[in-house]
C-alpha cells in the first residue's frame, strides 16, 4: 500500500516503555504458578505421607465423650444434611461415629433435609451399617469388632424430607407426621419396635447432626434445641465451625467436630484411623501453602509501598 503525497506524515513511534522491574513482575505474578504450587502441596503429601502426631481438641473430645456416655439400647437421631462436596470432611467422622455407636450397641434413626443426600446416605448405610466396619482381625484396629446392623431392628432410615426449617419443627413436634409414618423402604414406623414410644426428637437419647450447611446444625439449634431442651452434638465443615462454636460455648451443642482436622482427631479417639488421618498431611501442606501465599503477597506489597514512598525504583 502506498501513501499519497498530500497525506499527513506518519506519527512518531511512541517511546519504548521501560521493561517492568522485578518487583512489578512479582506483583503481576501469574496465578497459575500458585495453582501449580497448591496442586503439588496437595498431591505430594498423598504420595509421601509424613504422619505428624494428632491430638484431639476440646470440642472434639466433648463430642466423643458425650457419645461414649450412651448406653447399649439407647436410640439416637442422626441427621445427615450434606452432599458429595462435603464428604472428604464429614464422611470420616460419620464412619468413626458409626463404629463407635455400633460398638456400644446404640440404635440409630437416620433422616436428611438435603435433596442431594439420599443416594449418598443409602450407600453409606450399606457400607457402614449393613456390613461391619471393623470385623475381628481388621488391620490397624485394636478395639472390639462391630456387627452388621439389621434394618428396622437396629437402625431405621427415614429418608429425605423437603421443607427445611418446617421439617425440623415437625420433627420436634411429631416425628411420624414429619415422615408420613413410614421409613424410606415403606415400612410403617408403628411396626418398628425400636420406635415404640419415640414420637418426637426429645424422645431420643441424643441428636447427632452431620451438617454441611443450610439447613443443618444451626437451624436445629435455633428451631428445636431450646424449645425441647435437646441433647445435641454436631459435626460440620471447617468453614461452618466459627458459625457453630457460639452454640458449643452456650451449652446448646454438647460437642462439635469441625472439619477434616477434627474428623482426624475423632478417628483417633475411636481408635480406627481412616481417610481423615491420611488427609492430615494434605491439610498441613495446603494450609502452609495459603500462609506462604499470604506472607509472600504482603512482603511484595510492603516492599513496593516503601519504594513508592521513598521514590526509589526496583531493579
Amino acid at each position: 500500500m502506498s501513501t499519497s503525497a498530500g497525506s499527513p506524515p506518519p506519527a512518531p513511534a511512541p517511546a519504548a516503555a521501560p521493561p517492568p522491574s522485578r518487583l512489578e513482575r512479582l506483583q503481576r505474578f501469574d496465578r497459575r504458578w500458585i495453582f501449580l504450587a497448591m496442586g503439588l502441596a496437595i498431591v505430594l503429601p498423598i504420595l509421601f505421607p509424613i504422619g505428624l502426631p494428632i491430638k484431639a481438641g476440646p470440642m472434639t473430645r466433648a463430642a466423643f465423650d458425650t457419645i461414649e456416655a450412651l448406653q447399649p439400647g439407647d436410640v439416637v437421631y442422626l441427621s445427615l444434611d450434606l452432599d458429595p462436596a462435603s464428604t472428604p470432611e464429614l464422611e470420616p467422622f460419620y464412619r468413626a461415629l458409626m463404629l463407635q455407636l455400633k460398638r456400644k450397641g446404640v440404635r440409630i434413626v437416620i433422616g436428611s433435609l438435603w435433596y442431594a443426600s439420599p443416594p449418598l446416605v443409602q450407600r453409606w448405610i450399606g457400607e457402614s451399617l449393613d456390613r461391619p466396619i471393623a470385623p475381628a482381625g481388621t488391620a490397624g484396629y485394636g478395639g472390639p469388632p462391630d456387627r452388621p446392623y439389621v434394618k428396622n431392628v437396629d437402625y431405621v432410615n427415614l429418608g429425605f424430607r423437603e421443607g427445611k426449617q418446617a421439617v425440623i419443627q415437625n420433627l420436634g413436634a411429631d416425628l411420624r407426621k414429619a415422615f408420613d409414618g413410614v421409613a424410606v423402604d415403606g415400612t410403617p414406623l408403628d411396626q418398628i419396635p425400636m420406635l415404640d414410644g419415640r414420637n418426637q426428637l426429645k424422645d431420643f437419647d441424643l441428636i447427632i447432626l452431620v451438617s454441611a450447611g443450610f439447613p443443618g446444625a444451626k437451624e436445629y439449634v435455633q428451631y428445636v434445641q431450646s424449645t425441647y431442651n435437646l441433647k445435641m452434638v454436631a459435626a460440620c465443615t471447617a468453614v461452618s465451625t466459627t458459625d457453630l462454636s457460639p452454640y458449643m460455648q452456650s451449652g446448646q451443642l454438647l460437642g462439635l467436630v469441625g472439619g477434616l482436622a477434627a474428623s482426624a482427631e475423632y478417628e483417633l479417639l475411636v481408635g480406627k484411623p481412616g481417610t481423615a488421618v491420611d488427609g492430615a498431611d494434605v491439610l498441613n501442606a495446603g494450609h502452609l501453602m495459603v500462609i506462604v501465599a499470604i506472607i509472600f503477597g504482603n512482603v511484595i506489597y510492603f516492599v513496593g509501598r516503601r519504594r513508592r514512598r521513598g521514590g526509589g525504583t526496583a531493579s
Partner: protein
C-alpha cells in the same frame, strides 16, 4: 383488593397466630400449628416445581435467540429432563418379581450331625449373601462354587443383595410374600371364613382361623440337616434409588459437585496472595488472626508449638464468639422488627411493585 389487601390480611392473621401460639398451650392451637407447619413444608416442596417452570421460562428464550453459551443451557435442560425421567418410580408402575426363589431340597448329613441346617446360595458373582445377622459374604467362593452357610434350625432368615447400589434385595420378607402368593388358593377360603367369623363375632373361630392364616402364609422353618437352595437375582430398580439414577449421581453429579468444591483450595490460595494485604490495622489484625487459626487448625500446629491450638481455641471462644453472638443477636432483632412490620401490614415490598 385481591392483589394487596387480601395478602396483607392473610399475612397479618397468620403472622399474629404464629406469635400467639407460643403463649397458648391449648391442644386445639397445637393442632392448627401442626397443620400450618405441614403447609409450610408443602409450600417449600412446591417451590421446586415453580423453580423448574421458571428455569424453563428463562432458559428456552435464550436458547431460541442463540445467546452466548446457549449450548450449555441445552445441556442443563436435557440433564434436568433425564434426571426427572429416571427418577420417576417406573418399577411401581411396571411391577417386579420377588428377585429369587427358595427350594428346600436334599439333606446334608454332616450338618444334621452337627444339629445345623444349610443355606446354599445360587447367585451371580456380584451378589453378597447374609444369613441371620452374620456379616455378608460373597455368593461364590474364589473357585466359583456357591456359598454354603450352616445356620441354626428354625425360621429362614437371609438376605441377598448386589454390591452396587440401585438393585433390590431378595430377603426373608420377599420370600415370605412370594410364599404367601404361591399359597393364595389355600389362603383365600380361610380369609373368607375369617371375614364371616368376624362379622358373626365368633371369637373362637376368629382365633382358630387367624392362626391357620398365619401358618399357611408363613414359610416353614428349616429342620436340622435340611438344605435350602436360595436362587437370588436381585432385580434392577427404578426411581430415585434405582440403578440409573444412582449411577448418574455417583459418576456425574458427585464428581462435578466435589470438583467445584475442590477448586476452592486453588482460588483461596490465589486470593490469599493477591488480596489478603495488611493495608491498615484492622486488616493486619484479621490477617494475623487468620494465620493463627490456620496454624492452630493444622494437625502440625501442635507440633510446631504446643500452644498454637490453645491460641486458636481462644480466638474462636473469645473474639470470634463475642462478635458472632453480636451478629446473631443483631440479625435476630432485625428479623423480629422486619417480621413485625410484615405482621402489622407496614412492610409490603414482598407483595411486589404492582
Amino acid at each position: 383488593m385481591l392483589k394487596k389487601t387480601l395478602p396483607v390480611a392473610l399475612g397479618v392473621v397468620v403472622g399474629l397466630y404464629a406469635v400467639i401460639q407460643y403463649y397458648v398451650p391449648h391442644h386445639a392451637v397445637g393442632t392448627v400449628t401442626d397443620e400450618l407447619r405441614d403447609w409450610a413444608a408443602i409450600l417449600s416442596a412446591a417451590a421446586y416445581l415453580l423453580g423448574a417452570i421458571n428455569l424453563i421460562q428463562v432458559t428456552l428464550p435464550k436458547i431460541r435467540r442463540r445467546e452466548p453459551d446457549w449450548q450449555f443451557k441445552v445441556v442443563m435442560l436435557l440433564s434436568a429432563g433425564v434426571m426427572l425421567i429416571v427418577g420417576l418410580p417406573w418399577g411401581k408402575v411396571a411391577g417386579g418379581g420377588p428377585g429369587g426363589q427358595v427350594v428346600i431340597e436334599g439333606r446334608d448329613e454332616a450338618a444334621a450331625a452337627a444339629g445345623k441346617a444349610v443355606l446354599r446360595f445360587e447367585a451371580d458373582a456380584d451378589v453378597l449373601v447374609q444369613a441371620g445377622t452374620a456379616a455378608p459374604v460373597p455368593s461364590r467362593d474364589p473357585f466359583g462354587r456357591p456359598a454354603e452357610i450352616q445356620v441354626e434350625p428354625g425360621p429362614l432368615v437371609f438376605k441377598a443383595f448386589r454390591e452396587v447400589a440401585g438393585y433390590g434385595e431378595f430377603d426373608t420378607d420377599a420370600y415370605a410374600r412370594a410364599y404367601a402368593a404361591a399359597h393364595e388358593a389355600e389362603l383365600a377360603p380361610v380369609r373368607a371364613e375369617l371375614a364371616a367369623a368376624t362379622t358373626a363375632g365368633d371369637a373362637a373361630a376368629i382365633t382358630r382361623l387367624s392362626e391357620r392364616l398365619a401358618a399357611l402364609s408363613t414359610p416353614p422353618p428349616l429342620a436340622a440337616g435340611q438344605v435350602a437352595v436360595i436362587t437370588a437375582d436381585p432385580p434392577m430398580q427404578w426411581g430415585s434409588s434405582g440403578r440409573i439414577f444412582v449411577w448418574i449421581y455417583d459418576h456425574v453429579f458427585a464428581p462435578c459437585n466435589a470438583t467445584m468444591f475442590a477448586l476452592l483450595a486453588f482460588f483461596v490460595a490465589s486470593a490469599a496472595f493477591r488480596a489478603f494485604r495488611a493495608r491498615n490495622v484492622e486488616a493486619a489484625l484479621l490477617l494475623v488472626a487468620a494465620i493463627l487459626i490456620m496454624i492452630g487448625n493444622m494437625p502440625m500446629g501442635r507440633w510446631l508449638w504446643e500452644d498454637f491450638p490453645d491460641i486458636k481455641q481462644w480466638i474462636l471462644d473469645v473474639p470470634n464468639n463475642g462478635s458472632r453472638r453480636a451478629i446473631i443477636m443483631g440479625a435476630a432483632v432485625g428479623a423480629i422488627s422486619t417480621s413485625l412490620r410484615v405482621v402489622l401490614g407496614l412492610e409490603r415490598s414482598h407483595l411486589g411493585s404492582d
